[in-house]
Symmetry: C2
Subunit: 153 residues, 2 copies
DNA sequence: CGCATATCAGTAGGACTGAAATCA
DNA sequence: CTGATTTCAGTCGTACTGATATGC
């Protein structure tokens, strides 16, 4: 928790879109990190468990592409999740380069806990906005993200 | 530059507001960091120089409150900016605990360079949106940030 | 061979903490 | 004494790079 009472910021900064995004993302990340840390989790755990739950057993490389998490960070996070019993890693007999990662029942229960925690966090984050403002914000962010994660040409 | 072709993400993730914010902020930060690094600058430089230009000579503590930058990071960044000749630090005769930081003419010129660089970056970032969508996004983010940086009660 | 996968070691900037020294 | 300011020495999670080993 940071939270020093802020002063009045320079106009150049308060109207700079990239900075607004960073500052609001920082607020969101503080809420998410604190909330997840309270139950012993991190953002990467949620991203990986929810991807495994939706798409089924996957290689680590595929998980990296779907979540945007670096291959290198997948490795260490997978070790954590496996250690906690939330996933299993087996060598894929069809392609022995791959680790086939599978979510366990314990992992599914864990995902449920994380879902509930994150729901509460989203509410806290978006509390200042009306329902239709929240929808608009989400659509605008999705549009921005979609265009910027496409191959640019 | 990261840029691995992304896969299809889990629905839980693509609709999670905190994650959308983080992902778009990440895009913005990559653009900003790369653009500023190309001319030897960092985000903190812009935040501090623009605050000094708008509010005049300030203590480091005041700069920290206005920019949201931690007191500890102000110290090291100020050393960089002073080393480059963009600011001067004098002991405030009126309160000898304080460093009175003042932007130099060279610092003002530098701020102009950073302004131009950042203008181009904002255009690239917001290119997928229409003008009125950009305005709406900015308003929504400002509202969120304002409410979350107020004393909560 | 080229290419993908998994792993490890390490880097970099950003956010933050705790403690010390100084002074209002 | 309390409280503000500056500074230093770290920690932490995130994003990322480079190299290596292995297998398709």
């Amino acid at each position: 928790m940071a939270l020093v009472k802020p002063g009045i910021a320079a106009k150049r900064l308060t109207s700079l879109p990239s900075r607004l995004l960073t500052q609001v993302a920082l607020v969101a990340n503080r809420l998410v990190n604190d909330g997840l840390a309270a139950i012993g989790a991190r953002r990467y755990h949620y991203a990986l468990l929810s991807t495994l739950a939706e798409f089924g057993p996957s290689s680590q490389a595929s998980l990296g592409r779907r979540t945007g998490i670096d291959r290198s960070d997948i490795v260490s996070t997978m070790a954590e999740l496996e250690g906690a019993g939330y996933v299993t890693r087996l060598n894929d007999p069809a392609d022995r380069r791959r680790n086939l990662v599978t979510i366990t029942n314990k992992g599914r229960k864990r995902l449920g806990e994380l879902d509930r925690e994150l729901d509460a966090i989203q509410d806290a984050l978006l509390a200042p906005l009306t329902i239709s403002q929240r929808e608009r914000l989400i659509l605008l962010l999705q549009k921005l993200y979609a265009r910027h994660s496409e191959p640019v040409e």
